[in-house]
């Protein structure tokens, strides 16, 4: 049963921030697409006094890209819009691929990319990809704006770096460097299900098109937050990336994962999956980097 609340539906960002500031000490929640929040509200687990509905703020729904500034996605852009945007072909196709496997078409049609990130679910799909792409999140408050690297945004299970009164407004993805390839995949049993374990890997090669100049390996659903496997990255950085090196990186990444056991899989199995996923997705990223 959803408890009654006072409903506020600002139509501009400014109005929204004003309202958020006004109610920041009150029991309030922000709703965008609400694909996660409404489930909790229906179970009576979340019962805010004020519900601030930002879904109608059209100025936060956009996708822009240019070579210099990179890609900018408004926080209220729907998953489906990201998935279908032709802009993604300019080096961000991994975002489109990720979105395509996120839940169902109906959920993607209504749910927003910003809402997903702010939910802070370690099994969410966008976060690992954005971290691999070295994205930055623009956060606005009534008085100031700030940016947070995507990898620092999720703090704990369902906890984010958003302060009271703040909204996530934009996702900024830098233009990919030359010879960069990024890939993402998730392991699950039912195709459209949440990740049992997911991984995103971004590889940038040196001009010899063989040696790893930079790499970002991100694990999803393998720790309380999406997490970079930095030791595994170190295995690859500066070296010629081979299959066996990727396998080694996978093994190292597995030691960096801190998964839990649940009904979908045991912690041990998740660790094994991390090994395989990192090696496989690394291989895919490498192949893309070579072509990029």
């Amino acid at each position: 049963m959803i408890k009654d609340f006072e409903y506020l539906a600002p139509k501009t960002l400014k109005d929204a921030l004003t309202l958020l500031d006004k109610y920041k000490d009150e029991d309030h929640k922000v709703i965008a697409g609400g694909q996660s929040l409404l489930v909790l509200m229906r179970q009576g687990l979340v019962a805010p006094q004020y519900l601030i509905d930002i879904k109608g703020i059209s100025e936060l729904s956009y996708i822009k890209s240019d070579a210099k500034e990179g890609l900018k996605i408004g926080a209220l852009t729907t998953h489906r819009a990201v998935e279908k945007s032709p802009v993604m072909k300019n080096g961000y196709s991994v975002l489109s691929e990720m979105e395509k496997r996120l839940a169902s078409v109906q959920t993607r049609n209504w749910g927003t990319i910003g809402g997903n990130i702010c939910h802070g679910d370690p099994a969410g799909d966008p976060a690992p990809v954005l971290i691999a792409l070295n994205a930055t999140l623009k956060v606005a408050g009534l008085k100031a704006e700030r940016t947070v690297p995507a990898e620092d945004f999720t703090l704990d299970y369902f906890e984010t770096a958003l302060e009271p009164g703040e909204l996530l407004v934009e996702i900024q993805v830098p233009s990919p460097r030359p010879r960069t390839g990024t890939a993402y995949s998730k392991f699950n049993i039912i195709e459209s299900d949440m990740a049992t374990v997911s991984a995103a890997v971004s590889v940038t090669l040196k001009s010899d098109n063989k040696t790893c100049d930079d790499v970002r390996i991100v694990l999803g659903a393998a720790a309380p937050t999406p997490r970079r496997a930095k030791k595994a990255e170190a295995v690859l950085r500066g070296k010629e990336v081979t299959d066996s090196l990727l396998k080694e990186a996978g093994n190292v990444a597995s030691t960096e994962a801190e998964p839990l056991s649940d009904i979908a899989a045991s912690a041990e199995y998740r660790q094994e999956l991390v090994k395989v996923m990192v090696a496989r997705i690394g291989r895919e990223a490498l192949a893309r980097a070579k072509k990029a």
Partner: protein, 151 residues
């Protein structure tokens, strides 16, 4: 869901025991504990506030000691419910202390926590994660406090 573990403290067993049995100890170690009062020598009552992402829960609970063999063995059973009918929880904890050397005590514990109601069914995954992290935080706090006070 079962939590278990052990750790050692540089303190005599009797001191560890007395420390454990002060309501104040638990308030300061349980993350989110707001209140803990002794109703009688076997029963405590308390309130804990917990937050998992968007969900905040206030749990009122009663803890009673069902077995006590000072200064070695303690068993406590707790039951509680979340304000607003979101669910109930129960736990059964056994703590065993043993002297392993001069002024050194080993504390081993097992705690079986069970959640029922809406809280529990909202994603087993999330609650399990939460209970685990609360459990870990609790033991690390406890060790820290014990070390501060006794060590």
């Amino acid at each position: 869901m079962l939590l278990e573990g052990k750790f050692t403290l540089k303190a005599p067993i009797k001191e560890v025991w007395d420390f454990l049995l002060q309501p104040g100890t638990l308030v300061s170690c349980i993350p989110g504990a707001e209140r803990m009062e002794a109703v009688d020598d076997k029963t405590w009552e308390g309130t804990i506030k917990q937050k998992v992402g968007p969900i905040s829960v206030k749990l009122n609970f009663t803890q009673s000691f069902t077995e006590a063999d000072p200064p070695k063995h303690l068993k406590a059973v707790g039951r509680g419910s979340a304000a607003g009918g979101a669910g109930t929880f129960s736990q059964e904890t056994t703590v065993d202390l043993s002297e392993i050397g001069q002024g050194e005590t080993e504390v081993s514990y097992t705690s079986n926590v069970s959640l029922v109601g809406r809280l529990a069914t909202f994603g087993e995954r999330i609650m399990r994660a939460k209970v685990k992290s609360v459990g870990e935080e609790f033991t690390s706090n406890l060790q820290k406090k014990l070390k501060e006070q006794l060590g």
